[in-house]
């Protein structure tokens, strides 16, 4: 596996993200039923609906991965709706900004990009770790990615560990009490359920990083 990531790979990974969310649409709705209003799968799929078009229409001659991610983020912000549009949209826009001008992502670029992605969620949602949100999946995945990078592991290992970090993060939300969004009004009654946003973030990471490993 190459130690850098091309724009073609990023485009492919973005398609895989949409596919994975669609595949898990009903599961995300079901997760949202006990602590929300049973529509997280709908919201998140709607928010990501247009990005395949954005990716496909992104001019072949443009090679800037940052620009691509910003275009994706802007589309999600403007037309995504629900809470998911602003949150995931801001994350992609910030991620794009962090790697603006890059035509290849090195492992160091990837860490920087993912830190910005997590930062976007934190900034827009004003969340902290442990609030039982998507951030509880995304931030641990960043930490795992960074740690693997600092330990000098290969890109493949970095990606795999980031996915594992995301999974552990998602699972950790089960025991948390929600402090953000609709479920926060449940207080203690939110405990015992995986946060649907944490789950959709996991599916995004699983598909995005997973397809970079396989590809």
């Amino acid at each position: 596996m190459s130690q850098s990531i091309s724009i073609e790979k990023v485009k492919y990974a973005l398609h895989k993200v949409v596919e994975n969310l669609e595949k898990n649409r009903q599961y995300l709705n079901d997760l949202d039923s006990p602590i929300g209003d049973s529509d997280h799968g709908e919201s998140v799929c709607n928010a990501f609906h247009k990005i395949q078009e954005i990716v496909d229409k992104f001019p072949e001659e443009k090679r800037d991965i940052g620009e691509l991610l910003q275009a994706v983020g802007k589309s999600i912000v403007l037309s995504g709706g629900a809470a998911m549009g602003p949150l995931y949209g801001t994350a992609f826009m910030d991620a794009g900004k962090a790697v603006l001008g890059k035509e290849e992502l090195t492992p160091a670029d990837l860490v920087q990009m993912w830190e910005a992605f997590a930062g976007g969620i934190k900034r827009r949602g004003q969340v902290e770790l442990g609030d039982k949100t998507m951030y509880d999946t995304i931030y641990p995945s960043f930490l795992a990615l960074q740690k693997a990078y600092e330990e000098g592991k290969s890109l493949k290992e970095m990606l795999r560990e980031a996915i594992e970090g995301a999974q552990e993060g998602m699972e950790s939300t089960k025991d948390l009490v929600s402090k953000r969004g609709r479920s926060s009004r449940l207080g203690e009654r939110s405990r015992g359920h995986i946060d649907p946003g944490a789950a959709s973030s996991y599916f995004i990471i699983e598909a995005f990083f997973g397809s970079l490993i396989d590809n």
């Binding site: 209003d37 709908e42 549009g85």
Partner: protein, 334 residues
């Protein structure tokens, strides 16, 4: 539970509803070509601050039923129970702005707050004056110390009425925001439901509940409230809701209030009058005078079974604005 609904393809239901709505009310409303935004027919109205609202669909007659003179100028229509996206809110702002600025009225939900907030920034960056008032009247959704975490429910109707009336009088944006915030601050609500609605998009109920149970303090998307109990009589449950609402502000002897008893979708007006009767008795016992009463379905949760009680403490200015005539599509007052 078998889902029985008069719809066609679930994915087309919002578009088909809007199509019917616009034809039925073509003398009062138009639709933007580019976005799912409904606008008062004569908007932007010269010399008037624009009032813009919006949110998820499924709350009929909210939000689009409040478009009209003395009420709302433009509505950004979201999917079922999902906030409208930034672009749509931004287009609603532009459609309502006649050069005197725009007030955004929204419920306190993270999706609405983020999308409206980003649309506000976008419009401001283009030189449109935009302010917002966020409704958080649901006392059951968070303790008083954390009022900024409370949901907005039927109290938003009071905001539309007051802000819409003031805008019609020609007041400036700063004044409308100030009075709108006071109306929200003086408004408290609490609801109860015994039956969830079925989401037409997923075919699933909005929450699970036992046959003989009800959810006290339910939100109008079916969010859980503060406790789940056995069904109570009309008097018992109305007393519980009303006392909690009264104690929260707190309302005091000598206050004058507007009462809004709001059906959540499938509770009969017959039942609601029985409940209102109890609200009136309790207010009388407290020495609180009813200035005006609104009864009916003002802000539903599809066909949820239940109702909410909203009280707004009046002052002279709020009384004048509440009493002003309005000509909304589903809210007409002479």
């Amino acid at each position: 539970m078998k889902v029985k609904k008069f719809i066609n393809q679930p994915e087309n239901l919002i578009e088909e509803m809007l199509e019917g709505f616009v034809i039925a009310n073509q003398n009062k409303v138009k639709r933007l070509e580019t976005e799912r935004v409904l606008v008062r027919k004569d908007a932007p109205v010269t010399g008037k601050v624009g009032i813009v609202t919006g949110g998820g669909s499924g709350h009929k007659p909210a939000f689009i039923g409040y478009i009209g003179r003395g009420l709302v100028d433009a509505v950004a229509v979201g999917d079922i129970f999902a906030a409208p996206p930034v672009q749509r809110v931004y287009e609603a702002i532009k459609a309502a702005d006649a050069g005197k600025g725009v007030l955004l009225c929204l419920g306190n939900y993270s999706g609405d707050v983020m999308n409206f907030g980003m649309a506000q920034e976008l419009a401001q960056s283009e030189g449109i004056e935009v302010e917002s008032v966020i409704v958080n009247d649901d006392v059951a959704s968070s303790p008083k110390e954390r009022m900024d975490n409370r949901r907005g429910v039927a109290g938003e109707v009071i905001l539309w009425k007051v802000a819409g009336a003031l805008a019609e009088e020609g007041a400036d944006l700063k004044k409308i925001k100030e009075v709108g915030e006071r109306a929200v601050f003086n408004t408290r609500s609490m609801g109860v439901a015994h039956t969830p609605c079925i989401l037409p998009t997923t075919g699933k109920p909005s929450f699970q509940i036992g046959e003989e149970e009800m959810e006290i303090g339910v939100g109008h998307h079916g969010e859980p409230g503060i406790k789940r109990t056995k069904m109570m009589s009309a008097d018992e449950v109305t007393e519980l809701l009303t006392r909690q609402v009264l104690e929260d502000l707190p309302f005091q002897r000598g206050d004058e209030v507007t009462v809004l008893v709001n059906g959540l979708g499938s509770t009969s007006l017959l039942e609601m009058y029985i409940c209102f009767r109890k609200v009136a008795q309790i207010l009388s016992d407290y020495g609180i005078k009813i200035h005006r009463t609104y009864m009916g379905e003002f802000f539903t949760s599809l066909e949820m079974g239940g109702f909410s009680v909203t009280l707004t403490k009046m002052d002279e200015e709020l009384k004048r604005l509440i009493d002003a005539p309005c000509d909304g599509i589903h809210f007409v007052q002479h």
